[in-house]
């Protein structure tokens, strides 16, 4: 909701700067998502209004909150309308009080359609509305100001002045002001005159009662329509408007007269020759006072504070609750949101200040064990990384062709009904398509060993799987993990057809097992170590990978060597040892290590001479620091 700072001043005298107001409102529960300065003294604040606070979708509503926040008084405006006798009549029939609990209107005659005044257009534009003409602009203006959606009908286009308000019947049609023709179901609220349907109530007016440049007489309507019906119709017709947005969230049943009279007085102000008719106010349903009984010990206990009844009452009064001996009467604009005493507690806490609540530790409790299923999966991850596999996370979806080429029936797969992209249509029946797709994304990687533990799906069930894949290398690594976990089974190779389908140009081996089929007893502990590395950006260009082998002292630490290499140049992204073995032929207590050096350039491909220079620097540094010798 966009709020113009200077517009707020119509309702309340704020001394705080727009910046200060934005900060204070955020802490008060209305997050200001952005602020745009206008000149030196004005600004538009864009507030996130949560769906429970329909009452805040207006300048008045936000002014009320600011009044509570700063302890100020609202400048309540009264509109004195001198109504005149008009020799025209309209007749309102509400078929069911549930669909329209209140209908307030005035007839306005002798209108001249013109542009609205500049000041009004300017305010409308800050909210995001395009000015149309004086009548439409005023109805929009009043909606933004008070939160009451208004509508103006061209009286002369309605047969016998008849407003029949009823539920639509399936198949009925209406063309709305935006030129869209809607075929209705039986859950929209419409207005008709026996001849035609001319209004999609609470959502958008109809072409057949449109105010145009020839309009002389209007019916100015401020009504309360049922929020659930408006929501359903708006969803069904895919037609959301500023009016429907407010009705869905609840419009103040006590605010219809304010809306209609404010608009009528503005029309009179800019078009002085108009005649304003009598106020028509039909309350199809009596709105009853809604009271919530509360007691202060309960509220104190929930919030962890210690306020007296008097202090609580004062807080509630700031939000326009009427406080009685044991209860609070909810103001008409808050009944959609405030229903239980816990809701009162929140308002009391907002005034008290959430950040003033004294923090306290939870009572001590015996430490429960990690859940066995979670612990087992994490220990499997630790084993797999220990053997040299890197953990991969991939999406739970899989491509139809890839599912089918792997031999799964697409008809056995769980399907999403409303995916925003075609690749999100099927839930994966196995980790295999995910793992192969991930391999294909790294065509230049020397060898890939990855695993994943996540859920897979069929039409009824979901279950955890553990999948390992390697490229190039023999099955040795997978078999090593299997032997640690005492898993029986056979490592499989991926057929050439499948490799082609996934665009993989290397042999791939894999093993996949359902977690529940692993019968290991997991005596180990989960590692809670966290990497000290921070992310380094990845180039859009393919990396250059060079291998180096050194003979080093038998006790040389791989971690130290890797770290030392990383320090040579910013162009080195990753250093990984892929081989280490001892042999007497290197000399006593010596070992051979082999490393992949991943180099990249953020601006383009890595120039060859730069690569050579870095590699030479690495060799020099490692030979010096670790008494190493390059193996050629």
């Amino acid at each position: 909701m966009k709020i113009l700072y200077s517009w707020l001043q119509d309702y309340i005298d704020i001394s705080q700067t727009p910046e200060q107001l934005a900060e204070d409102l955020s802490i008060f529960g209305h997050e200001v998502e952005s602020m745009k300065k206008i000149g030196d003294n004005d600004a538009v604040l864009d507030l996130e209004i949560t769906p429970n606070r329909g009452d805040c979708l207006s300048i008045l509503g936000i002014a009320r909150e600011i009044a509570a926040l700063y302890g100020l008084k609202l400048k309540e405006k009264k509109y004195e309308i001198k109504s005149q006798k008009i020799d025209k009549k309209f007749d309102v029939k509400i078929a069911d009080a549930e669909i329209c609990q209140r209908f307030t209107a005035r007839l306005i005659d002798n209108i001249t359609i013109t542009d609205s005044p500049g000041w009004l257009q300017k305010r409308l534009k800050t909210y995001g509305f395009r000015p149309i003409n004086n009548i439409i602009d005023i109805t929009n203006y009043v909606m933004i100001a008070t939160g009451q959606p208004l509508h103006a009908f061209d009286f002369d286009k309605i047969k016998d002045g008849l407003l029949n308000i009823r539920l639509s019947k399936k198949g009925e049609e209406i063309m709305t002001l935006d030129g869209k023709n809607h075929i209705l179901n039986d859950e929209a609220i419409i207005i008709e005159d026996g001849e035609k349907i001319y209004d999609l109530a609470g959502i958008m007016g109809g072409i057949k009662s449109e105010v145009d440049e020839k309009t002389k007489t209007i019916i100015l309507q401020g009504a309360i329509f049922d929020s659930v019906l408006i929501r359903r119709a708006s969803k069904y017709l895919k037609q959301q408007t500023d009016a429907s947005y407010r009705y869905e969230r609840g419009v103040d049943s006590g605010g219809t007269i304010l809306g209609v009279d404010m608009a009528a007085s503005l029309i009179k102000e800019i078009c002085s020759e108009v005649k304003i008719g009598e106020l028509i106010d039909i309350k199809a349903k009596d709105s009853q006072e809604f009271k919530i009984i509360f007691d202060e010990p309960k509220i104190n206990r929930l919030l962890g504070i210690n306020l007296s009844r008097g202090e609580m009452n004062q807080s509630l009064e700031k939000f326009y609750f009427k406080v009685e001996a044991s209860s609070a009467v909810v103001p008409s604009f808050r009944i959609y949101d405030v229903k239980i005493w816990q809701d009162l507690a929140e308002e009391i806490a907002r005034i008290y200040g959430y950040n003033k609540i004294i923090k306290s530790e939870l009572p001590k409790e015996e430490q429960p064990q990690e859940s066995p299923e979670w612990r087992e999966r994490e220990i499997i991850k630790d084993f797999a990384t220990e053997v040299g596999f890197t953990e991969n996370y991939s999406y739970s979806f899989a491509d139809k062709n890839q599912i089918e080429i792997l031999g799964y029936k697409i008809t056995d797969c769980l399907e999403t009904a409303n995916p925003i992209a075609p690749e999100l249509k099927y839930l994966r029946p196995s980790l295999l398509p995910s793992l192969l797709a991930q391999i294909a994304k790294n065509p230049w990687a020397p060898e890939i060993r990855i695993f994943e533990i996540e859920k897979v799906f069929d039409k009824e069930k979901e279950w955890w799987q553990f999948g390992l894949v390697t490229t190039g290398n023999p099955r040795f690594y997978i078999e090593k993990v299997m032997s640690i976990l005492k898993i029986k089974g056979e490592v499989k190779s991926v057929s050439q057809d499948i490799l082609n389908a996934f665009k993989i140009r290397k042999p791939v081996y894999y093993f996949i097992i359902d977690i529940r089929d692993i019968k290991y007893d997991f005596p180990e502990k989960v590692s809670y170590k966290i990497s000290s590395h921070r992310y380094r950006p990845i180039s859009k260009f393919a990396p250059t990978i060079r291998d180096l082998a050194f003979i080093v002292e038998g006790d040389a630490q791989l971690k130290k060597i890797e770290k030392s290499i990383l320090e040579v140049s910013n162009a080195i992204l990753i250093v990984e040892t892929f081989d280490e073995f001892f042999s007497d032929k290197f000399g006593k207590d010596k070992k051979n290590i082999a490393l992949h050096i991943w180099l990249q350039n953020l601006e383009g491909p890595m120039p060859a001479e730069k690569v050579n220079e870095i590699i030479q620097n690495i060799i020099n540094k490692i030979e010096k620091e670790f008494r190493a010798k390059l193996r050629s």
Binding site: Q342, S371, W374, T385, S394, R536
Partner: protein, 228 residues
């Protein structure tokens, strides 16, 4: 020689450790969840605009890919007939039916928690989450809370941390369990009070490791995975 554990796994572990040490038991739910557990049980009825906040993947059989792990609190408590006091922490994968970009993902992880006891109040909740932020980002980290609406809590709040440039960043949502939600767990809201919170792990993890693109986690890019 060793492979790398995914940064999300590493981050999830230290997060869970914090809560396990405070008496929370890990519970897990279903990724394909019923409408009732994902929405209705949490006070999010179909006819209310609060349903629109989350873009949901529906399955053809009328279930949905869970949009949070909060529903698992209810499922776990109900199916195991938990009697207070109890404390649960629920980690897991969640989904939103939305287009991906540098800051949006349709797949993400959440950690959710609930503690139910006779005398838990907002002060306990704020302290628990404040301590968690200190555990992750250091003892110097400053936090604040702001009122916010979530249908399954009342009162509700968001928690922010202060960034080095002085601005505040929203980290998680929390509140006191709504009585209707407690009833859906078969707990008497007159006798017991609940503290609840829920948070997306991906963004914390990114902040921790200084990662600038949320999609990297699921990219399978070895140049990403091998960095941590």
């Amino acid at each position: 020689m060793k492979g790398n554990l995914h940064p999300l796994s590493q981050f999830m572990r230290i997060s869970l450790k914090y809560f396990i040490e405070r008496g929370f038991q890990i519970a897990e739910g279903l990724q394909v969840e019923t409408e009732w557990f994902n929405f209705d049980a949490l006070n999010v009825p179909a006819d209310h605009p609060s349903r629109d906040i989350q873009d949901t993947f529906w399955t053809v059989d009328g279930r949905n890919l869970r949009t949070h792990t909060t529903g698992a609190d209810i499922r776990f408590a109900k199916e195991n007939h938990l009697v207070p006091p109890f404390r649960l922490v629920v980690p897991g994968r969640c989904f939103r039916n939305e287009a991906t970009d540098q800051t949006h993902e349709h797949t993400f992880y959440q950690i959710d928690g609930i503690a139910v006891d006779k005398d838990l109040n907002m002060g306990h909740l704020i302290e628990l989450l404040n301590g968690y932020m200190k555990e992750l980002f250091g003892l110097h980290i400053q936090t604040r809370v702001r009122p916010h609406f979530y249908p399954f809590v009342e009162p509700g709040m968001d928690l922010d941390i202060k960034l080095p440039d002085g601005s505040w960043r929203e980290m998680l949502g929390a509140g006191m369990g709504h009585p209707d939600v407690l009833k859906n767990m078969e707990i008497d809201p007159e006798k017991y009070q609940a503290i609840m919170w829920g948070m997306g792990v991906d963004r914390y993890m990114m902040q921790y490791f200084k990662i600038d693109d949320i999609r990297l986690s699921y990219s399978g890019n070895m140049r990403f995975l091998k960095q941590f």
